[in-house]
Symmetry: C2
Subunit: 460 residues, 2 copies
C-alpha cells in the first residue's frame, strides 16, 4: 500500500482513480497475468455506425484521454478496498499498485471530421494495461465526440450567429457539464455559461439574468434597473417573464436613465413563445425607441433544426443560448463506438460477432480532397500499407508513455475544427439524414480479414 | 482569501466547488446584495411535462443534493480566480468566501413516484443563497431522476429477471457513470459493473468477460479455461465472439474439466444477433449437455422495449446487462425540469412566460390511494392548506442548514421504490405512451394564481 492518507473517506466526487472501471477488466487482468499474457496489444477506438442525423462526426476528448493515460494510478483507498474484497491475489494487487501506462498512442487531432469504421485513436501497450484503460478511455473520448459532433451541426445551422452553451443544469453531472462546455467551444461555440470552463480552459464565459431575478422584484422595470447598476458591462436583460413585447417597451423607457448613468444595454433575451415572431416585434420596438444597437438573444429548448429555421426565416436574432439539446446531445446521446483488440503479440485479431464484426490489424486513415479542397473520399487501410497515398490522419502522440510535444492549445484545436467544417461537402453540412461519404476499405485490409476468417473456420 | 494551498493547479477532475455554476448566478448575486435583497426565498424543483414515454417519474438524487448543500463552499483557487477576473466587488468576494447554506429543505423521499407540476424539493434560504445553489442542485437532482425513471421502466419490463448496469463506458463522464449506477440500483437493478459504486455505496458489482479476452487467445476454449481458472467464482463465459452456438457447444465440452477442478460455470453471456433465438438454442445445447443450472445472460443495445419483448416471448433468459440506453436514458436524456422562485419576502411569485407559467407559493402534494392500495390521484395545493387530506409527500429534511436525522440507507430507499412501483396502477406500469394520472390543483392554489395575475395586469 502507498503511504498516502486522507482526512475524509473517499467520495464519489473526488478525482477518480483507476478503480473507475468495469469489474470485468479486473477479472480479465488477473487471468492475463496468471497466464503471462503480457505481450503488446493494439486496441483501436472507432464508431461502428453514425446516428441517423449525423453525416459526419468530430473527434474530441483526446486531451482528457492523454491526461488520464499519463496519470492513471490506483489511489491508496482504492487499493485498500481491492484488498478487502478478497477477490484478488496478493501478486495481482501488487501489480495494480505499480500500474503505469508506458505505451504508445496514435490519434486523429481533436476537431477532425471522421466517419464510421475509422479509428480515431490506437493504443499499444502490454495486454493487461491496454485492457484496463478501456472503460475510462471510452467514457472520455465518447462523450466529447458526441458533444462536438452535435455542436458542429448547430454551428453550421447558425450561419455565423453567436452560440453559447447554457446546458450545465441538465448535463449528466458535473463532468458532463464541464466537458460539454469544452467540446462545444472546440466545435465553434462562442463560449459557455459554465463558469469554471474559463478557469480550467480559458473558454469565454457569458451570463445574462434569470426569471427569478425579475420575479423577486415587485416591478419588472425596477428589476432591470437594479441588475443594470450591478452588472453594467455586457448587460443583457431578460424580457419575457410576464409579456415579451411589454418587456421590450419597458427597456426602451428605461434606456435614457441608464444611458445618463453611463450604462449601455448590450442585449435583450427572449426565452419563451414563438421566438422568431417575438424577435421581429421586439426588434421593431427597440429600433423605434432608438435602440438599434441592442442585440437580441434567444434561448429555450432550441436545437440545430430550430436554429436553422430561425436563421433561414431571417428573424432578427443575433445569438442563441443552447442548453439541453447540446449538453445531452438529445437526439443521439450516445454513439455506437468501441475500443477493440485488433492485434495481439504481433498477430491481427478479429471479432466476428453478428453485426459487430471488426476490421483487424493496426489501421490508418488516408483522406483525399477534391480540386476545391473539399473532402472527397477516405481510405481505411493497414498502418503498414506502403502504397496508400495522401496524408495519414492518425499521428503519433505518445511513445513509451511520454507525450510527443505539448497538447495543442484549445484555440488551435478550435481553428482546426473550423477548417474541417469549411472543407465538408455541402451535402454533409446539411442537417438532413442520409448524406453519404465514401470510406473505401483497402485491398490488403480485405485480404487480411478474409485470411483470418478462413483460419477461424479451419480451426473450428 | 483562505490560507488553503494546493501543490498542483485546480483541474476539471477535482471535487467541484461552488464555482461550478452559471455565470449569471454570480451576476445576479452581486445585484441582490447591492440592493439588500436578502429576505427568504422559496424555490421549488419540479418537472413541467413528462417525456412521451414516461407515465411516471421516480425522485432520486436527494442524498447527493444534501451532501452538496451542506458542504457547498468556494475553494481557495476559485476565490482567487473570481478576484482576478475583475468582475466582482471586494465586498461581494468577501460574501462569497463566507458563503454557507443555513436554510431549510423539504423533499419527497428518494424512490417516490411523482408527476408533472409536483415539486419534489423545496429550498428556503436568503435569496442570494437559494439562487446560487440552483445550477448544481438541478444538475444533481435532474440526472438521477432521469436515470431512476428510465431504470424503473426496465425493472417493470423485466418481470423479476435480474438487471445489471453495464453503462459506464458510454455514460456522460465519470460522475454520470457513478450516479447512474446508484440511481438504477435504487430503482431495482441488481447491481452494476461500475466498480467504485461498491466502494462508495455498497452496491453489488458484477463482471463477466470481454471479447478482447477471447480474441487475445488463439483458441476460444483455451480462453474459457484460462478465465475460469483465474475467476472461478460467479463464472460467466462470453460465447458470441465467433459463433454463439459453437461457443455453447465448447462450454459443454469444457464443463467436465472445470468441474473436475472444482469450478462451476455460473452462466454464459450472449451479446449479439437475435438474442431470443440464440437463447433458445443455447438453452437446448446447455440442457442437452447436462448444464441446466447454467444461467443465460444477454446484453447488447437493449432497452425496456426489447427487455419486455424478450421476457414476453418466453425466451429462456435469466438476466440482462443494460448499458447505453440506461446510463444516457437514450430516448429521453433530459427532463423539462425547473427550480423556480415561488415566494420571496413572504409574497408568492409567479412566472407567466408563455408555455412556462408556474404555480405560485410554497406547495405540497397529497396522494390518495384506492381500496387496493394503488395510487388513485394527487392533490397539488399550498403548503399552508389546512383542509387537504392524506399524507403530504414533501417532508422536512433540513432545517437551519442541519440535516434532520441520518440519510436513509440505500437499501431502504430501494425497498421504498419497489413498494412505489408495486402501487402503480397497471396503466402507468405499461411501457406505452399516454397513460394519464390525475393531479388535481386545489382551489386555494388556483385562487392564488388568479390573484397574482390580476395584480400584474393592474400593475402594467
Amino acid at each position: 500500500m502507498r503511504s498516502q492518507t486522507t482526512s475524509r473517506p473517499r467520495s464519489w466526487l473526488d478525482r477518480p482513480g483507476l478503480l473507475l472501471t468495469d469489474l470485468y477488466q479486473l477479472n480479465m487482468l488477473q487471468a492475463y497475468l496468471e497466464q503471462g499474457m503480457t505481450a503488446p496489444a493494439a486496441f483501436e477506438f472507432f464508431v461502428r455506425r453514425l446516428p441517423a442525423e449525423r453525416n459526419f462526426l468530430v473527434a474530441a476528448g483526446l486531451e482528457q484521454v492523454l491526461e488520464f493515460l499519463l496519470t492513471a494510478r490506483f489511489d491508496a483507498i482504492e487499493l485498500e478496498w481491492l484488498a478487502k474484497t478478497g477477490r484478488f491475489s496478493a501478486d495481482f494487487l501488487s501489480y495494480l499498485e505499480g500500474f503505469e501506462f508506458r505505451g504508445d498512442v496514435d490519434a486523429m487531432a481533436e476537431g477532425t471530421a471522421f466517419f464510421a469504421d475509422e479509428p480515431i485513436l490506437r493504443l499499444v501497450a502490454p495486454l493487461p494495461v491496454a485492457q484496463l484503460l478501456e472503460t475510462r478511455l471510452l467514457n472520455l473520448l465518447h462523450f466529447q465526440t458526441v458533444i462536438a459532433s452535435k455542436a458542429a451541426r448547430m454551428v453550421l445551422a447558425a450561419g455565423g450567429k453567436r452560440l453559447i452553451d447554457f446546458g450545465l443544469r441538465r448535463a449528466h453531472g458535473a463532468e458532463a457539464g464541464l466537458l460539454a462546455a469544452r467540446a462545444s467551444y472546440l466545435a465553434g461555440f462562442a463560449g459557455t455559461a459554465t463558469t469554471p470552463a474559463n478557469l480550467y480552459w480559458g473558454i469565454p464565459i457569458f451570463g445574462t439574468m434569470a426569471h427569478s431575478f425579475i420575479q423577486a422584484h415587485d416591478d419588472e422595470v425596477e428589476a432591470f434597473r437594479n441588475f443594470a447598476r450591478a452588472r453594467p458591462e455586457g448587460l443583457v436583460l431578460l424580457i419575457d417573464t410576464y409579456d415579451t413585447e411589454r418587456g421590450a417597451e419597458r427597456v426602451v423607457r428605461l434606456a435614457p436613465d441608464l444611458s445618463a448613468a453611463g450604462i449601455r444595454i448590450f442585449g435583450v433575451r427572449l426565452d419563451s413563445g414563438d421566438l422568431g415572431q417575438h424577435a421581429r416585434t421586439v426588434r421593431r420596438i427597440l429600433d423605434a425607441g432608438g435602440l438599434s444597437e441592442v442585440s437580441i438573444l434567444v434561448s429555450g429548448g432550441l436545437d440545430e433544426h430550430e436554429i436553422g429555421r430561425l436563421v433561414g426565416s431571417g428573424a432578427p436574432i443575433d445569438g442563441f443560448g443552447i442548453g439541453t439539446s447540446l449538453t445531452t446531445s438529445s437526439d443521439a446521446p450516445a454513439l455506437d463506438c468501441a475500443y477493440k483488440l485488433q492485434e495481439y503479440a504481433g498477430r491481427p485479431r478479429r471479432k466476428r460477432s453478428e453485426g459487430k464484426a471488426t476490421w483487424p490489424g493496426r489501421k490508418q486513415v488516408y483522406r483525399r480532397y477534391d480540386g476545391a479542397g473539399r473532402l472527397a473520399a477516405d481510405l481505411l487501410t493497414l498502418d503498414e500499407d506502403a502504397e496508400a497515398e495522401g496524408a495519414p490522419l492518425l499521428r503519433p502522440v505518445v511513445r513509451g508513455g511520454r507525450a510527443l510535444g505539448a497538447t495543442p492549445a484549445l484555440a488551435k484545436v478550435r481553428a482546426h475544427c473550423a477548417r474541417e467544417l469549411a472543407r465538408l461537402p455541402e451535402r454533409l453540412k446539411a442537417l438532413g439524414e442520409g448524406a453519404d461519404y465514401p470510406v473505401e476499405v483497402s485491398r490488403p485490409l480485405v485480404a487480411l480479414r478474409d485470411k483470418l476468417d478462413s483460419e477461424e473456420r479451419g480451426h473450428a
